[in-house]
Amino acid sequence: MSTIEQVPVTVTVNGKKYQRFVDPRMLLIHFIREELNLTGAHIGCDTSHCGACTVEMNGMSVKSCTMFAVQADGASITTIEGMAAPDGTLHALQEGFRMMHGLQCGYCTPGMIMRAHVLLKENPDPTEEEIRSGIAGNLCRCTGYQNIVKAIQYAAAKLNGRTVQEAAE
């Protein structure tokens, strides 16, 4: 019930256009989660460290807790909810995370997948080291990252048309 004057914001999220009036100080993560009811992106910290809130904006990874919704005016955003194909087929990353056991509690997963998505666009066939540094802005408390790396390698292989290998025990 803020007394601050509301300002208009127009964004395209997962291909759908939204127009809302918001507090200028509203964070993008709250806008996505609470105004648009897309609760896949999470909040894990107050200092821009954890990456649980990562979404893709105009082709780049952004930590949506570190931006105001108004800064996203006119932008095109993809969230985890927009990753599967319209027919429900999972993206190679979503499949990879499941096949390689790249998640446990699932709280970091949407951010990880969104980050990995941009990483693979920039570097379609990254080495393990490149993956590790590429996801260094995303924290996971459960997996120890090893299987996240494998999940991203799985997706890279699949996207590059190579046969994918299932997780070794």
């Binding site: 007394t3 992106a41 509690c105 993956i131 260094a136 025990e169």
Partner: protein, 806 residues
């Protein structure tokens, strides 16, 4: 049989039962952003609560003025201790038998303590309003150092109990003393020390840290005034316990409280206790008649809800000169903060610290633990550990190294010489436990062979020589740890929480068409229960795991259970599943006998069916039987196919493992690089190897964090240092080492499926392994112990002390 008849192997594979790497069912929703965590829930008319917190560590509250906050549009209420007193809720009982302030009552006892609860229409307004609440403090002397807690002139922290000489765990020796807990044979231990050839004594400080799951704690309370019913969603590792506590506090009957733990974003012990935020959300909903949500931010999480460890462990070993350990003596000074809010089984004020004799056959031992109050946040939870086992294992595994150093022995030889031998199980330890099973020697040997231990030691010797000659500034450390955990609390004879015995439960219903639902008293926070529990049932009753729904976290539908922590889910709930499944199978066998017109004894179980012995073509599958059970049961038999089991375990389980770590340390920068980490775990029967491996990776990563940098520290004024991710060390993918995993299998003889539990082992064994590696690097220079956490600054300081920078 025609070609379409599946073979036995095909039928078995189709079940996806125990032992297979079944992919997780949870992942289908989590990878699509369709998880449902507390903060994702939105109710009509929902309000938001936020705390005004103390800036002081110890101060008297002279006054609270909320008028400016209340005048802010959108603010609905401000609760203080005064309001809560009207409901008799200003204080609440802790799980450890102490009382804790819900909101500061007269004074504050630690920085960031909850002082007032602001309720507003949205979270931004609530955040604005907390700035407008004016609190007047009068500062009091602050007690930070636990070693000074019992000094004659120490400040009085807990005025509410300052004259009480009896606490929940016996006599209190000082107004800041909480308890003294003793186990073992003191005179026998003294005598063995007096006679010993060699003794060592060292104080190992296991620093204060925090479980820090990626999702913080949260609750959403909705009180329906008309029905008099309370629905509470929250990050609860033990939803039924929360319901019982909520009922005791609010006087609402348990039947009218609906506690729901939806998806939980990691727990690691953080989400066992009951926190002021939960209570305030409930009260605020009752007062306002609207749903109220409370979500911690990260700073609040790290600085208020549930720290872990903070044990000062003075550890002594006595031995013969050829390395046979003859006695152990341990004294712990336990810093519990401002309230004793440890989440241990109620009779165990120091948890299972008396597992500190470890994996060794130590004939006599004595342990004393003194718990004291300080001006720090309460907690003392089991961070990825079964009630102080982590501390216990750290003490013994460091002490073994120190003793080996004094004896001039390789610490592995010392371990091997003192291991409890295979034929000694079940083994009675000097401090009162009965270890169920183990083959320590084989596990250790397998680990040594896997890493090429001898060559590593030879390489280290060469490096040390090179270092002495000034050819390198790098030291190599080899860390070994061999741990025995005690998990699966626990047998009702010695484990309860506030009087509730620590059994666990499972209810299975097989539906007429042959699919099933299982409901549990536990609650997954990432361990994958929905996947693994179904595997146990699949193997037991022959229904494919994919046709079995596992439901947890709703106290209306789940049978009462004590929840998930202390690696108790597999040992306790896993057993309840097997027992419930076996009841179903017994009934199914009667039905099959009736249908096949044979005696029950003439039937045998084969994967998914009962078949007539010697006539495998005459069979009834569980699916066939389910239909009949409902629609045409044998005369005189009750219809239906379901069972409930409450399992009270006869004993704990004792997983164990051998870990080896190789590190290279730059003495000029203090940077330690983990070159290799090998972890061998024995958790008994393995239900899902993929998930076990994932648990081990995660536990080792948390162990790495704790050993190498993660801590919650305070300055002399009681200011908490580093309660955000700016300072609190959480390793990223870059720092995290690569983990090599391995296993042996020694089933638990008393568990229905032989499983022991694994989630916490890697943390318990990992921390001493890293710490031993760092210490080992410097041991040849005469250093006996360097305190954790081993961040570069502290390692650099250790090198400085040892004169390596001249």
């Amino acid at each position: 049989m025609n070609d379409m008849t599946p073979t036995r192997e095909q039928r078995e594979a189709q079940l996806q039962g125990m032992g297979c790497k079944r992919k997780r069912v949870e992942d289908i929703r989590f990878t699509q952003g369709k998880g449902n965590y507390v903060d994702d829930i939105k109710l009509p008319g929902m309000l938001y609560g936020d705390f005004v917190r103390s800036s002081h560590a110890h101060a008297r509250i002279k006054g609270i003025d909320a008028s400016k906050a209340l005048a802010l549009p959108g603010v609905i209420a401000v609760l203080t201790a005064e309001e809560l007193k009207g409901l008799n809720l200003a204080w609440m009982p802790t799980l450890a038998g102490d009382m804790q302030m819900v909101l500061a009552d007269g004074k504050v006892l630690f920085q960031n303590q909850e002082v007032a609860f602001v309720v507003a229409e949205d979270r931004y307004t609530a955040a604005d309003a907390i700035e407008l609440v004016e609190v007047e403090y009068e500062e009091l002397p602050v007690l930070v150092d636990p070693w000074k807690a019992m000094a004659p002139d120490a400040p009085v922290l807990r005025e509410d109990i300052k004259d009480k000489t009896e606490g929940a765990h016996g006599r209190r020796e000082h107004y800041n003393h909480i308890f003294k807990w003793q186990v073992g044979d003191r005179p026998g231990t003294d005598e063995a020390f007096a006679r010993a050839d060699v003794t060592i004594k060292e104080t190992f400080y296991y620093h204060r840290t925090h479980p820090c799951p990626l999702e913080t704690c949260a609750a959403l309370a909705s009180f329906d005034k008309v029905k008099g019913e309370l629905t509470l969603w929250g990050t609860f590792q033990a939803p039924h316990v929360v319901r019982t506590v909520a009922s005791l506090l609010s006087k609402i009957p348990e039947s009218k409280i609906h506690v729901i733990a939806p998806d939980i974003g990691g727990g690691f012990g953080n989400k066992v206790g009951v926190y002021p935020g939960y209570v305030c959300a409930i009260v605020a909903s009752i007062v306002t008649g609207r749903p109220v949500k409370w979500v911690e931010d990260r700073m609040e999480n790290l600085s208020t809800t549930s720290f872990a460890r903070d044990y000062h462990m003075t550890t002594e070993l006595a031995a013969t000169k050829d390395g046979r350990i003859t006695a152990m003596r341990v004294h712990v000074l336990a810093d519990h903060g401002a309230f004793d809010a440890c989440a241990d089984p109620s009779k165990w004020p120091a948890g299972f610290m008396n597992i500190c004799t470890g994996s060794y056959d130590i004939p006599v031992a004595h342990l004393t633990v003194d718990g004291v109050y300080t001006n720090k946040a309460p907690g003392g939870v089991a961070y990825r550990c079964s009630f102080r086992v982590t501390e216990a294992v750290y003490a013994i595994e460091r002490a073994i190294e120190v003793l080996a150093q004094k004896l001039g022995m390789d610490s592995v030889d010392l371990r091997m010489k003192n291991f409890i031998r295979r034929e000694q199980f079940p083994y009675q330890s000097a401090l009162g436990w009965e270890y169920d099973s183990g083959d320590y020697y084989m596990a250790m040997q397998k680990a040594l062979d896997a890493v090429g231990y001898k060559e590593l030691r030879a390489e280290q010797a060469r490096k040390r020589e090179a270092f002495k000659r000034g050819e390198t500034r790098e030291l190599m450390g080899i860390g070994v740890s061999f741990f025995t955990e005690i998990v699966g609390a626990g047998p009702s004879k010695n484990c309860d929480i506030l009087g509730v015995a620590m059994f666990d439960s499972c209810e299975i219903r097989v539906h007429p068409t042959g699919s099933a639902i299982a409901r549990m008293g536990t609650k997954t926070q990432g361990q994958g229960h929905e996947t693994t529990y179904a595997q146990i049932i699949a193997t037991e009753i022959g229904i494919p795991a994919d046709d079995i729904m596992v439901e947890e976290g709703n106290t209306d539908t789940a049978p009462y259970g004590l929840g998930t922590y202390g690696s108790r889910s597999t040992p306790v709930a896993g057993a309840a599943i097997a027992m419930a499944a076996r009841k179903i199978k017994a009934k199914a066998q009667m039905i099959a006998a009736y249908l096949l017109e044979v005696h029950e004894d003439d039937l045998e179980w084969d994967v998914d069916r009962f078949q007539v012995k010697g006539l495998p073509e005459k069979f009834k599958t569980m699916k066939d039987i389910a239909w009949v059970a409902y629609n045409a049961p044998p005369p005189g038999m009750e219809p239906g196919l379901e069972a409930v089991s409450y399992y009270d375990p006869p004993n704990m389980t004792y997983p164990f493992g051998a870990y080896i770590c190789v590190m290279d340390i730059d003495v000029d920068t203090g940077v330690a690089k983990t070159r290799r980490f090998y972890a061998l775990d024995d958790c008994g029967t393995r239900i899902n190897p993929m998930i076990i491996e994932g648990q081990v990776h995660g536990g080792l990563t948390e162990a790495f964090a704790v050993a190498m940098g993660q801590e919650i520290d305070y300055d002399e004024a009681g200011n908490v240092k580093g309660a955000s991710f700016m300072d609190f060390f959480l390793p990223t993918a870059v720092e995290t080492p690569y983990w090599e995993t391995d296993y042996t299998v020694t089933p638990s003889p008393h568990h229905p499926i032989g499983a022991k539990g694994v989630g916490e082992s890697p943390h318990v064994g990992g921390v001493p392994c890293f710490s031993n590696a760092v210490n080992d690097a410097f041991a040849f220079l005469g250093s006996t112990h360097i305190q954790m956490p081993h961040d570069p600054w502290r390692i650099w300081k250790a090198a400085e002390r040892l004169g390596l920078h001249q």
